[in-house]
Amino acid sequence: MKTVFKRTPVLKDCPTHYCPGCGHGIAHRLLAEVIEELDIQDRTIGIAPVGCAVLAYNYLDVDMIEVAHGRAPAVATGMKRTNPDHIVFSYQGDGDLAAIGTAEILHAAHRAEQLTVIFINNAVFGMTGGQMAPTTMLGQVTATTLGGRHATGEGYPLQVSEILALLPGTTYVERCALSSAPRIKQAKKAIKHAFQLQMDGAPGLSLVEILSPCPTYWRLAPAKAMAWIEEQMTTAFPIARLKG
C-alpha cells in the first residue's frame, strides 16, 4: 500500500481544542507541512496571537511564543532583526491583526521587515464569543451586531491584503481560502512561497490571508460554512494573488 497522505510530525500528535470544522486546524496542518517540506523546523520561531489560535504552541512543534493581542508583528520585528538567520512567522486572526494590531502590521510592512504573516480571516472574534471583527461582512449577524453589520454604524469589512499590497515594504501578498480541497492546496502553495521568500532573504514582508470557516459563530454546519466562504466572503474578500 502506498501512503498518499499522512500527518506531518511538525504537527504535534494531540487533539486540538478547536471547534469541529474550524479552519485553524487546517491552517495549522498546512503550516506544519510547509515547515516540514522546507526542512526549517529547527530554525523557525512562530508567534501565536491572542485569539482561538493562542494555543497554537501546543500544536506546532517549533519554538513558539505567545504575545500580547495584536503585537505579533512588533515582536516578530524584535526577533527577526536580532536573529536574521532564523525563520520568523506570525500566525494571527482578524481581530488580532486587523483590529488592535493594525498599527503593528502596517508598520512591519512599511519597514519591509523580512517576516511571514499567516492571517486567518474568519470574519469574527472567535475566542471571545463571536463578536464583530473588522472583517465582518455587511449584514453579518454577530454577538455585537445582532441586527447585522451596517456600514453606517460599524463601517465596512477591512481589506487588509489590498491595503498591505499597496505598501512598497510588502514583497508578497496573496488571499486564499480553506473552502475546498483545491482552495486548500492553493493556500498551501501560497504559504510555502511566503516561507521560501523569507528563506531566500527577499526584502519585505510576505502575508498570506486565509479565509477560514468559523462554524460555531457563523451558526452554520461546517460544510455550509465552507459554502458561505465561497458565495459570500469572496465578494468582499476576492481570492487573488495581489502581489509578488
Binding site: 520561531i45 504552541y57 517549533v62 500580547a68 512588533a74 520585528t77 524584535g78 526577533m79 532583526r81 503593528e104
Partner: protein, 349 residues
C-alpha cells in the same frame, strides 16, 4: 557627556544587542545616539511606530535570549505598561529607561519624579514587580546600565532605570569602561530554534487549573530573593542625625547640598538615599527609625516615595514631605528652611 548619551554608551559597552525606541522629550538623545552607535557596532536599532510597539520588540528580542532595551519618558512608559506585564508574566529579561517628565497627561518636558508609583508598584495588570534603579548622577546613571542588564539576565526580570529630565540633559564628566559581568545563568529557555533540543515556548498564558497561581508563587519567590540580595542605598551622615532626609535621583543631589549647609550651621541632619527604588531599602530606614528621628521625604512629586518611607518607619517617627510636582524642582534653600523648621519644632537645636 550628557546623561542620556552616557547611559546609551554604557548600554552599548554592556553588550546591548538591540535598542527599540520612539522619540519623546526629554530622552531623545538616547534614541539618536543609539541609532548611530548600534549601527557602528553592527547591532540592532529600530525606531518603532509607538512605544507600545517598542516594548513588544524588546519582548521579541529578549525571548530569543538577546540583551534588549528601550527608553522613553513618562507618557511613553505608560504606553509600555501592557508590554511590561507580559515581560513579567513570560519572565523575560529586559531593560527599560524612563527619563521622567512632568505629568499627568501630556504634562511638560520639565524633570519630575511623578512616575514613582507606576515604576515601583507596576502600571500593568497582574501581580508582578520589576527592579527599579534610581541614579542621581551621570556617572551613576551610566553605571546603572551594566547592572541593569546583569540583574535582568540573572533574575529573568525587567529592570527599569528611573532617571529624569535633569539627569538626562545635564552634562558631567563620566568614566565609561566595561564592567565584569556577574555569573549569569544560561538562557536555555530562549527561542533559538529547535536544533538539538525540544521545543521552547515563551508564554504568559497559564489556563490550567492552578497553573497561574503556581507561576505567581514562583515570581514571588524571585521577588523575595531580589529583596534579600539586591537592595542598594546610601546612608549619608545619619549616625548622629536627628533629622533624616530621604530622597533619590536628582532630588537627592539637591537635598545633599541642603544637608551639608544645615550641618555647617550645626543642625544634626543626614540623608538616606535609596538607589534601588524596588527593592526599597526598608530595612535600612527601619533601622534608622529605631531611635526617635524626624524623617523628611524630598521628592519632585506630591509625595509618592514617602509612602514607602512611612511603611518602613511604621509610625515610630514622624515622616514629613517636601514635594514639588509637575516639573517643579526643589531648591537647596527651600529644603534648608524646611529642615530648620523641623529642628525648631523638635527642639534639636
Amino acid at each position: 557627556m550628557c546623561g542620556n548619551e552616557a547611559l546609551a554608551e554604557a548600554a552599548v559597552i554592556a553588550g546591548c544587542d538591540a535598542y527599540f525606541g520612539y522619540p519623546i522629550t526629554p530622552q531623545n538623545e538616547i534614541t539618536a545616539y543609539m541609532s548611530r552607535r548600534m549601527a557602528e557596532e553592527g547591532r540592532v536599532f529600530v525606531q518603532s511606530e509607538s512605544e507600545l510597539a517598542a516594548i513588544n520588540m524588546v519582548f521579541g528580542a529578549a525571548a530569543t535570549g538577546k540583551r534588549a532595551m528601550t527608553s522613553s519618558s513618562s507618557p511613553g512608559i505608560s504606553l509600555m505598561q501592557e508590554g511590561m506585564s507580559y515581560l513579567a508574566g513570560a519572565e523575560l529579561p529586559a531593560v527599560v529607561v524612563n527619563v521622567m517628565r512632568g505629568g499627568p497627561g501630556l504634562g511638560n518636558i520639565a524633570p519630575s519624579q511623578g512616575d514613582y508609583f507606576q515604576a515601583t508598584r507596576g502600571g500593568g495588570h497582574g501581580d508582578y514587580r520589576h527592579i527599579v534603579l534610581g541614579p542621581s548622577s551621570v556617572q551613576e546613571l551610566a553605571d546603572c546600565m551594566p547592572l541593569a542588564f546583569d540583574l535582568a539576565d540573572q533574575y529573568r526580570i525587567t529592570v527599569m532605570v528611573l532617571a529624569d529630565g535633569i539627569l538626562g540633559q545635564m552634562m558631567e564628566p563620566v568614566v565609561l569602561e566595561p564592567k565584569p559581568r556577574r555569573p549569569l545563568p544560561p538562557k536555555d529557555w530562549a527561542l533559538t530554534g529547535m536544533k538539538d533540543r525540544k521545543q521552547n515556548i515563551v508564554r504568559s498564558l497559564w489556563l490550567a487549573e492552578g497553573a497561574l497561581e503556581e507561576l505567581n508563587y514562583r515570581l514571588e519567590a524571585k521577588h523575595r530573593q531580589i529583596r534579600d540580595n539586591e537592595v542598594l542605598c546610601e546612608e549619608y551622615r545619619i549616625e548622629d542625625a536627628e533629622i533624616i532626609v530621604v530622597a533619590y535621583g536628582i532630588a537627592a543631589r539637591i537635598a545633599r547640598a541642603a544637608v551639608d549647609r544645615a550641618r555647617e550651621q550645626g543642625v544634626p541632619v543626614g540623608m538616606i538615599r535609596p538607589i534601588t527604588l524596588w527593592p526599597f531599602p526598608s530595612a535600612q530606614i527601619s533601622a534608622a527609625a529605631e531611635t526617635f528621628r524626624v524623617f523628611l521625604a524630598v521628592e519632585m512629586s506630591c509625595g509618592q516615595m514617602i509612602e514607602d518611607v512611612k511603611l518602613a518607619v511604621e509610625g515610630r517617627c514622624p515622616v514629613l514631605l517636601h514635594g514639588r510636582p509637575g516639573g517643579g524642582v526643589p531648591m537647596v534653600d527651600e529644603i534648608q528652611d524646611k529642615i530648620r523648621q523641623l529642628t525648631i519644632r523638635s527642639g534639636a537645636v
